[in-house]
């Protein structure tokens, strides 16, 4: 399974994602410069964290017009796996591949800390390897991860299983105190209707080795591999 990590000007988690995939997951991975016009030959496109285009105007607002995004949108429309992490999630909502929007954290702080995530839908390509009831300890690092969607959109997303990760306590309880940024419903990650595009604010690529304090992020990458192998 071949991964592609898109590099925008201002991406800063591209190397982390590359390392997690090549050295820990041990699958082929290549960088894709944002000026590229094709993503042919890849099985999964990762949009990494960072501050693409300096977060000017809004996070992800300018990156979505990068040449590569046109082919990423086409790739997603044809069923390709697209995985947006942090700033990558912001790019995916701006380009319209995912519903809702991400804006300034309540409390206005940049939050850099571990969070605990409950997996609300284990029947997606990104979560099929997660054991039932498992709470994932994965760090966040963002100032604009406050997820918003209008009530009607949220209802539809919930019915369709598109709310995938929610901030919770270590015991898996979704509480107000466990919400680091004010996101509605404690939402940490969502997918599209077809489940092949997922965005999440926490950084699974930063929690794939013991030395990082958690290896819980690895199961998301392993899910993608298992899903892909199941298609063969």
């Amino acid at each position: 399974m071949k991964f592609g990590v898109v590099v925008f000007p201002g991406s800063n988690c591209d190397l982390d994602a590359y390392h997690a995939i090549r050295d820990v997951l041990r699958h082929p991975v290549e960088y894709i410069w944002h000026q590229e016009e094709s993503v042919a030959g890849f099985d999964c496109i990762v949009l990494p964290g960072g501050f693409s285009y300096g977060d000017y105007l809004r996070s992800g607002a300018i990156a979505r017009f990068s040449p590569v995004m046109k082919s990423v949108v086409e790739f997603a429309a044809s069923g390709g796996l697209v995985f947006g992490i942090c700033n990558g999630f912001q790019v995916l909502v701006e380009v319209g591949l995912l519903p809702g929007a991400l804006y300034r954290n309540t409390g206005l702080q940049f939050r850099c800390q571990f969070t605990n995530l409950v997996v609300e839908n284990r029947n997606t390509p990104f979560t099929i390897a997660v054991e039932p009831g498992r709470v994932l300890k994965i760090p966040i690092a963002h100032g604009e991860g406050n997820y918003y969607a209008d009530a009607q959109t949220l209802r539809a997303m919930e019915q369709n299983g598109q709310i995938v990760f929610r901030y919770a306590t270590a015991g898996g309880e979704v509480t107000k105190d466990a919400n680091p940024n004010g996101s509605l419903y404690n939402i940490a990650g969502v997918c599209n209707e077809n489940k092949n595009v997922l965005g999440m604010m926490p950084h699974p690529e930063r929690s794939v080795e013991r030395i990082l304090g958690s290896q819980d992020g690895l199961v998301i990458f392993e899910s993608l591999v298992r899903y892909r192998e199941g298609l063969r």
Partner: protein, 84 residues
Amino acid sequence: MWKARIEIMLKKSVLDPQGQAVEGALHSLGYDNVRSVRVGKYLEVDIDGGDKEAAGAQVREMCERLLANTVIEDYTFTVTEVQR
């Protein structure tokens, strides 16, 4: 030449953390009568040529495509003629 003055504000239904923080700061300065502060963005865009209607249509399109995120933001604008 036309000058568009564009205001972008979070929708009323969207909580404004910045506005709340500014409101709290104003209260702490003693301005107890201050209510519901909202923080937005202001942009000025100069547009060459065409008539006022075309400039307005272009501004609207630019707001929809890039300048505002209409999931969370509303925008308003004016267009006035200015000397180059």
